[in-house]
């Protein structure tokens, strides 16, 4: 594509069009960069790019900067931005889109989150329900080689819960497995 021949608005187009980003871009197309999302986000203090900046990067198709940032991984689904955006944009959904693109392996993503989500879904797929203490055990087994101090922080909580009689080590009670559902979705995979 020859940049000189582009229309005046073309600079908001990506240099290398990223089709995965298309559905996100569609959601934030009318952003006016007012910053209400950033001002409302409880996690903005820990994000490298603020939510407002992230939407700008999405519109500009800056995939590398978007997926190298921790911004979308740090969205905790609180829906404050969605509620307050003066343009009525579905911003929490747009954050989820970015998480999904990262999870599909098209880009990086947060290692701890990926390990946790996959342990969670494995359990749900097999038993239909998730048994949280087993899930934590599996997650810590994956993460400990990377973050050796992690189990210590949770051991306090674990002891506390054993004392309170909260922890049950039995298998999740009979739901139904979700294997059929997972398999059907696998077979449908193509453009989310």
């Amino acid at each position: 594509m020859n940049r000189k021949q582009q229309t005046p608005q073309a600079w908001i187009r990506p240099e290398q069009p990223d089709t995965a980003l298309e559905r996100v871009r569609e959601k934030v197309r009318t952003c006016i960069q007012c910053g209400t999302c950033t001002g409302s986000c409880p996690n903005a203090f820990a994000m490298d790019a603020t939510p407002r900046k992230l939407w700008r990067l999405v519109l500009m198709g800056q995939s590398r900067e978007i997926f190298e940032s921790r911004t979308f991984a740090l969205c905790s689904d609180c829906y404050c931005c969605t509620l307050r955006c003066p343009r009525g944009l579905a911003l929490t959904d747009a954050m989820a889109d970015l998480k999904q693109i990262a999870a599909a392996g098209k880009h990086g993503g947060d290692a701890a989150c990926t390990a946790f989500y996959s342990a969670f879904l494995q359990s749900a797929r097999r038993y239909g329900r998730v048994q949280e203490t087993r899930l934590m055990a599996r997650y810590l087994a994956v993460m400990t080689p990377r973050r050796p101090l992690m189990p210590f922080r949770f051991s306090g909580l674990g002891m506390q819960m054993i004392k309170k009689g909260k922890i049950s080590l039995r298998r999740p009670p009979a739901g139904r497995s979700l294997k059929g559902i997972f398999a059907r979705i696998e077979s449908m995979k193509d453009g989310q």
Binding site: A112, C113, A124, K166, G175
Partner: protein
């Protein structure tokens, strides 16, 4: 009154006392709960972080199963995260037939179908609207007077759907607690996110949010919550957080049905309160 009941995974393991208190309180209020047979995980925050279709199909399985019991009924959901996931599919069924068809194409793998009739409702919605402060008041035998409670709503029972309360400045729990005789702790953190989904994966972020909330609850005797994620996040790491910030921010965090149940004269044991700290023992005397 009769509701279908979706406890969700937490209420079978780390939040067992929320399940006990909910059942005991509803029984005392003569409300019948019919647990959805074979219900499955709603996907929590994991499914929507990984796959769009999974995030739609997982809650839809339980909605479809509920319709096989009674398609005209409402589902009572105590967990705010489960509630939001089920509610999202319910909303889509009403507004977006194409996505609903796609969901049903997936459900067909298990010979299930969701028609969009059965409606999920948060327990706070049912307590505030169907039973109401007057309904609670009629059952009070042990007033909570003298107990100062900070009502904590969190995020997902309030947002993004405005159903039973103001998502910015909620008051539904206040009226119920007041009916039980409790004093209310005035604070601005009632609808702030506690970042529960990050406590496992990004604890340094989560601890900051929890610290702010706990600090603002200072002066209250307890926090009341309506979500198992919030309860564990706000209570489970208090020792660690107090030592990180060099400030003691410890405070018990109870489920709303536990507090209302106590005021209704339900034995602490039946509300799962024996499993709690020494301060709770004092509370239930």
């Amino acid at each position: 009154m009769k509701y279908l009941y979706y406890p969700g995974c937490s209420l079978e393991s780390t939040a067992r006392e929320y399940d006990m208190a909910t059942r005991a309180m509803m029984h005392a209020l003569s409300v019948e709960l019919i647990e959805i047979p074979g219900w499955t995980c709603c996907g929590a925050t994991a499914a929507k972080a990984v796959d769009r279709r999974l995030a739609l199909a997982m809650p839809a399985v339980s909605l479809a199963l509920a319709e096989t019991v009674d398609s005209a009924a409402d589902i009572l959901v105590p967990c705010s995260a489960c509630y939001l996931n089920l509610k999202q599919v319910y909303q889509i069924a009403a507004a977006d037939p194409r996505t609903l068809a796609e969901i049903n194409e997936i459900l067909a793998a298990e010979s299930l179908h969701y028609s969009g009739k059965v409606r999920p409702r948060h327990i706070l919605d049912i307590l505030a609207k169907d039973i109401g402060p007057t309904g609670i008041l009629q059952q009070i035998t042990h007033s909570l007077s003298g107990l100062r409670v900070a009502p904590y709503y969190g995020c997902q029972c309030l947002r993004p759907y405005r159903v039973f309360d103001d998502p910015e400045a909620p008051t539904s729990m206040d009226a119920l607690l007041a009916a039980a005789g409790a004093n209310l702790h005035p604070w601005s953190m009632a609808a702030r996110c506690c970042s529960a989904s990050h406590m496992t994966t990004n604890p340094d972020v989560s601890k900051e949010l929890v610290f702010r909330i706990l600090k603002s609850a200072r002066g209250a005797d307890a926090i009341a919550t309506v979500c198992p994620m919030c309860q564990m996040n706000l209570e489970g790491h208090q020792g660690w957080i107090s030592s990180c910030y060099g400030e003691d921010v410890r405070i018990p965090v109870y489920y709303l049905p536990q507090l209302l149940g106590l005021a209704m004269g339900i034995p602490a044991r039946d509300l799962g309160l024996n499993a709690k700290s020494a301060r709770t023992a004092a509370l239930s005397d």
